[in-house]
Amino acid sequence: MTNPVHDRIADLVNSNDVVLFMKGTPFFPQCGFSSTAVAILERLNVAFEGVDVLADQEIRQGIKEYSDWPTIPQLYVKGEFVGGSDIMMEMFQAGELQTLVAEAGVKPAA
C-alpha cells in the first residue's frame, strides 16, 4: 500500500536531519506553538528544514496520520518523530534535546 503524501513526508524526514512541520515559516511562524518550536531549535543552533503545513493541505492532514499525532508543530530528527512543542520544551529544559541532536550528529545552523 502506498500513499503518495506519506511518501512525500518520508522523503522530507529522511533527506533532512531535522524537520519541523509547522504553521507558517521559521521567519514568520503563524501559531504560538510553532513559534516556541522554532525558538527552541534556534537556541539549539541546529540547521533545520521548516515545512509550512498551511501552504500544503495534503501535508497538513497527512503528517497527522503519518506520525499518529493530532497537532502541529511536529519535530523529526533523523527520520524519527520526537514530539510536539510541549515535549520539545520539556526535553530542552531537561537537556535531552541537546543530547539528542549531538548524538545524531546534526549540522549546526549556517
Binding site: 504560538g32 497527522k64 499525532w69 493530532p70 497537532t71 502541529i72 514530539g83 510541549d86 526535553m91
Partner: protein, 76 residues
C-alpha cells in the same frame, strides 16, 4: 464550538481512571488551555506515548474543536 474545561477533564478521567487533571484556561476564552495530567498509567512510557494516551482520551477532538492545549504529563 470550543470545548469546556470540564468536558476535557471528564474525557481524560474516563480514559485514565485515577488520574489527576489540572486545567488552566490560558486566555479566558474557553479555547486556549493548559493541562497538567498526572496518571499512574504513564509509568514506563515515553513522553510521546504519554501524550498519545491523553490525545486518544480526547477522541479526535484534539487538533479539531480543541485547537490549543498545552499539555504536560507526569507519572503519578
Amino acid at each position: 464550538m470550543p470545548m469546556a474545561a470540564a468536558d476535557i477533564e471528564s474525557a481524560i478521567l474516563a480514559a485514565l481512571p485515577g488520574a489527576r487533571v489540572e486545567i488552566t484556561d490560558l486566555a479566558g476564552d474557553g479555547d486556549h488551555y493548559a493541562a497538567v495530567v498526572t496518571a499512574p498509567q504513564f509509568a514506563g512510557l515515553s513522553r510521546v506515548a504519554q501524550q498519545r494516551l491523553v490525545y486518544n482520551a480526547l477522541g479526535g477532538r484534539m487538533g479539531g474543536v480543541l485547537h490549543a492545549l498545552k499539555l504536560t504529563t507526569v507519572v503519578g
